[in-house]
């Protein structure tokens, strides 16, 4: 069924609109994170439509709820691509959901814009990764912590929820730390189950580990486990001063309605923070708040933006821009137009990689403030190029769709 002209036929079938799919969980455990991304996509769509659409067509988003159910992700992806014949899909958060839909997109020649930081080691022709690769988030963070300015930490506790991203992230981090001369015994790796709520034992282990003030934590703890973790951390007498936590999965949106008292001073590494000073960003933040208030979404104008929201939003624009550039919605053409495409995102100018489907962008490290925002304490000098295959763990591989057929072995 997947010959060539699926998208073309839609283009002729409906004169005024072009359909895109929105595949974010609106219920289930991931809803808390993903709903905001759906809103961001919706906002980008509204903006573009207000400006006249793409190639003269209004964008019509088809929103479905894959309900944090990985099988349903695949089912919905098929539905969007085959039944609804959408031109592109914006969605997914967890790695497993992406892995679940990946074959569907590849078999049906679809295009998925994936807005969340991820573990890398993937190079699909059907996915546009607008989130960070490990080298755009993990490595700079570790580097910063080891630096004089960052505190010169010598011991690292790699703590994560037990799933792919933390596992891979920690593998890369560990390789990096070892390569920087951190002795093995100064790196501890530990995982907790999903939704783990009881961090007493782990914190007391950390306390011992961090007794000499030289230790920090690299946290890939996910979702609802964070609050109990940070709370217990504070209650057992640890603090950002004695042992900072560098988080890779805590962003403004999660901190929005939390009491952040026990989080203040801890760190997070991303590519974007709401506190970014750029005028584009200020407008974006305001627009987003206004959008949420206007649509009566929960939170209203108290809503905040964060890294994944920024990239979900940017993704839509990238697609629109590429379609304009290609003059067509056809997946292969859009894909080709995306290479090296530049876009003025809320995070400043970002640029698609010329050879693969990742985005080059700045890396920032922030310190959590009492209001749930981040104080940007470090920023990369310019854009950091994506490395889907980390040179630390897969030195022989690279991803290139222009000169090679995706992943290839480096000489």
């Amino acid at each position: 069924a997947s010959k060539s002209g699926t998208t073309d036929s839609t283009a002729t079938a409906s004169k005024e609109t072009v359909k895109i799919g929105v595949l974010h969980s609106l219920s289930g455990t991931m809803a808390i994170s993903e709903v905001s991304l759906k809103d961001a996509v919706q906002m980008a769509v509204d903006e573009i439509n207000a400006k006249g659409g793409v190639l003269g067509k209004q964008i019509e988003p088809v929103i479905v709820d894959p309900a944090s159910d990985w099988d349903l992700f695949a089912e919905k992806a098929k539905e969007l691509l085959i039944d609804k014949k959408v031109s592109a899909v914006f969605g997914c958060w967890t790695s497993v959901s992406r892995k679940s839909v990946l074959p569907v997109f590849e078999q049906n020649n679809g295009l998925l814009f994936y807005p969340v930081q991820y573990e890398g080691e993937e190079c699909s022709n059907s996915v546009i990764y607008t989130g960070a690769t490990p080298n755009q988030q993990l490595i700079p963070a570790a580097e910063y912590l080891m630096s004089e300015k960052g505190g010169g930490y010598k011991k690292f506790y790699l703590l994560g929820t037990d799933y792919v991203f933390p596992r891979t992230a920690n593998k890369i981090l560990k390789a990096y730390l070892l390569s920087k001369g951190i002795p093995k015994e100064n790196i501890v790796e530990e995982y907790t189950p999903f939704h783990h709520q009881d961090y007493q034992t782990i914190i007391s282990k950390i306390k011992r580990f961090a007794a000499d003030g030289k230790a920090c934590i690299l946290s890939t703890i996910n979702g609802d486990s964070n609050v109990p973790f940070y709370k217990e951390f504070a209650n057992q007498g640890l603090s950002a001063a004695t042992c900072p936590i560098m988080a890779f999965s805590v962003a403004e949106d999660e901190l929005r309605s939390m009491d952040t008292e026990f989080l203040v001073g801890h760190l997070a590494a991303w590519n974007y923070f709401q506190s970014n000073d750029l005028p584009e960003n200020k407008k974006f933040v305001e627009d987003f708040k206004a959008f949420c208030a206007k649509k009566g979404l929960p939170g209203g104008d108290k809503r905040v933006t964060d890294d994944p929201i920024c990239w979900a939003y940017t993704g839509v624009y990238l697609w629109a821009k590429a379609a304009e550039k290609a003059g067509s919605f056809e997946v292969s053409k859009v894909r080709n137009a995306l290479y090296s495409l530049e876009f003025d995102s809320p995070d400043g100018l970002v640029k698609m990689d010329p050879r693969n489907h990742h985005l080059a962008k700045p890396v920032v490290i922030g310190e959590i403030k009492p209001d749930g925002q981040f104080d940007i304490i470090w920023k990369s000098a310019g854009l950091v190029d994506p490395q889907p295959w980390s040179p630390l763990t897969s030195p022989d591989k690279d991803c290139d769709w222009v000169n090679h057929n995706g992943t290839y072995a480096k000489k």
């Binding site: 219920s27 289930g28 455990t29 809803a31 808390i32 709903v35 004089e148 300015k149 037990d162 530990e190 995982y191 907790t192 189950p193 939704h195 783990h196 709520q197 009881d198 007493q200 034992t201 782990i202 007391s204 306390k207 011992r208 007794a211 000499d212 003030g213 030289k214 979702g223 609802d224 964070n226 609050v227 109990p228 709370k231 217990e232 504070a234 209650n235 057992q236 007498g237 603090s239 950002a240 001063a241 004695t242 999660e254 929005r256 309605s257 939390m258 009491d259 008292e261 026990f262 979404l297 929960p298 939170g299 009492p370």
Partner: protein, 544 residues
């Protein structure tokens, strides 16, 4: 110990004289920083001040480092790191003295940061403070920072640094920080010591002082810095003794964790036990009642706002019980009452209800939210250097104890309890004996749901508040109820504690995941021997 105090006094004297000499130049630089004629002047002044290492300028430098330097009526001031209520901060002068600012009535002056003019020091200049930052922090008014500073001051062989540290230790008011500070001093002396008796004295002091880091410090001393093997092995012996003590404390900590986890489980299971064990309803929505309680607490926090301090939590405790209870009551009236004696249908209906409740919560709140820990329950009780028992957990344990006691009294010492137990075992006959079964059943459900709500309120102290938080606990709490024996209060308590302890003990050996798997399999095997829970009914009543 006294032995060291004496040099301390001398040092302080020295320091004071130092200050006298540098006083003039310091104040010049200070002025240059606050009112620079050019950026380069300021940069220079900062560098000079850093080089001076005059403690009287430390509050100023620290304020710069923390980006908390403000001008108030042309006076340089700084603020506390945390607001003292309602977003207002206390103010301190930074130079030449470090003093709390007071208003006319002698109360601390409280102002929001917005009322102050921030002195903007460029990042490059701030970086000049990096080297001296730990020293500055020795005089910080943030305990945490002081604590950290001692481990970061670095080489204490440098005399001027040593003097500063010693002075700081003497000034120190916080016992824990002082402990760390003393350790830094002892360590410096130990490293400098060149004869065995002297070294042993310092080693002993370090061991006696027993800060968090003592064992590591001694070990590394024996490995790297010891000047003689004898001193090294002596240090090592001390270290290993400390490690043992430490291990023992860790064990106590683990037991406490077990107790705490156990009491949480009991608190959640208590309501379930009443609703399931007594009313025969497999309440899949139990976790959602918990969620209601948690959100009630959250709402209380919003309603009370920041001024009210801990009162929101005081109000939330009864309210979470009542709100969840009322919700339970409504559901009982609307749905559950049709389902007594139909446990299967109750399963289906309560599952449906739980879906609805979760989605409703998601629509209303929609976020990951968390309740702030009441001030009274923040932090922990430091029992020994390595043993901190968080207040929030202690509170939950006490709350559980009280609730268990109340539940016991209610069930076994009151008429209502008698009727509840009767109704759940035989509705029709109870009715024939004059028991108003509807009311009793509704009340049972009210109490059961209410207890869940209370548990939710308690859980906010340690976890977050999310729409599907209930599902995290539902299996665990069913496990507790079932291993204890359905409808057995004592069973619920024993199994809750048992599972709590066991989880924590196994977590000490395995990773958290395997700990959990282990506990689940263990329970399965345990049920082999006690197929009807810990406290099975005996005799004829045990049959079907």
């Amino acid at each position: 110990m006294r032995h060291f105090l004496r040099p301390g006094w001398i040092l302080l004297f020295l320091l004071c004289s130092l200050r006298g000499r540098s006083q003039d130049s310091a104040s010049i630089y200070v002025n240059q920083i606050l009112q620079p004629s050019a950026d380069s002047v300021r940069t220079n002044a900062i560098h000079r001040l850093v080089a001076l290492r005059d403690p009287s300028t430390f509050p100023l430098l620290m304020a710069i480092n923390d980006k908390k330097l403000y001008l108030l009526d042309n006076k340089a001031v700084t603020t506390d790191s945390k607001p003292s209520g309602d977003g207002n901060y206390r103010l301190y002068t930074v130079y030449p003295t470090y003093q709390l600012l007071q208003n006319s009535s002698g109360q601390p002056l409280l102002l929001p940061p917005g009322k102050l003019t921030a002195v903007d020091i460029p990042r490059a200049d701030r970086l000049a403070l990096v080297g001296i930052a730990p020293l500055l922090n020795l005089f910080s008014n943030d305990v945490q920072k002081r604590m950290l500073a001692y481990s970061q001051v670095g080489n204490l062989q440098d005399q001027s640094t040593l003097q500063l540290v010693a002075a700081a230790v003497n000034r120190e008011t916080d016992e824990n920080v002082q402990r760390i500070g003393r350790e830094a001093l002892y360590a410096a002396r130990l490293y400098a010591a060149k004869d065995e008796t002297n070294a042993k004295v310092y080693i002993d002091s370090i061991a006696l002082n027993w800060s968090d880091n003592a064992a590591t410090l001694l070990t590394s001393y024996s490995k790297e810095k010891a000047f003689s093997p004898a001193a090294g092995s002596y240090a090592l012996a001390k270290a290993s003794r400390l490690e043992k003590k430490y291990d023992n404390l860790q064990r106590i900590q683990n037991l406490f964790s077990g107790l705490s986890l156990g009491s949480i489980l009991i608190l959640i299971a208590l309501g379930l036990s009443i609703v399931y064990g007594l009313a025969g309803i497999i309440n899949m929505a139990h976790g959602e009642f918990m969620m209601i309680g948690a959100y009630t607490t959250y709402c209380m926090q919003l309603v009370f706002g920041h001024q009210a301090g801990d009162w929101f939590y005081v109000a939330a405790l009864p309210l979470s019980f009542i709100s969840a209870g009322i919700m339970g009551l409504i559901l009982e009236r609307l749905v559950i009452r049709h389902l007594y004696s139909k446990p299967l249908e109750s399963l289906l209906a309560t599952w449906g209800i739980s879906l609805i409740l979760v989605q409703t919560a998601r629509l209303i709140f929609g976020d990951l939210t968390a309740v702030k820990t009441p001030q009274l329950l923040a932090g922990g009780w430091q029992v020994a250097p390595h043993l901190t028992l968080p207040y929030n957990r202690i509170f939950i344990i006490v709350l559980t104890l009280v609730m268990v006691l109340l539940t016991y009294l209610m069930l076994f010492k009151t008429k209502l309890g008698l009727q509840i137990r009767a109704v759940t075992q035989n509705r029709q006959m109870s009715a024939c004996l004059g028991v108003e079964t509807r009311q009793v059943a509704a009340l049972t459900f009210f109490i059961g749901s209410g207890l869940a709500g209370l548990a939710g309120c308690a859980i906010t102290l340690i976890g977050n508040v999310v729409p599907d938080m209930g599902q995290t606990y539902i299996v665990d709490s069913f496990l507790v109820v079932v291993t204890g024996g359905v409808g057995k209060l004592a069973g619920t308590i024993v199994s809750g504690l048992g599972i709590g302890f066991f989880t924590k003990i196994s977590e000490a050996f395995f990773q958290a995941v395997y700990g959990k798997v282990f506990i689940l399999l263990f329970i399965m095997l345990f049920m082999q021997y006690k197929p009807k829970g810990l406290f099975p009914d005996k005799g004829r009543i045990a049959e079907e």
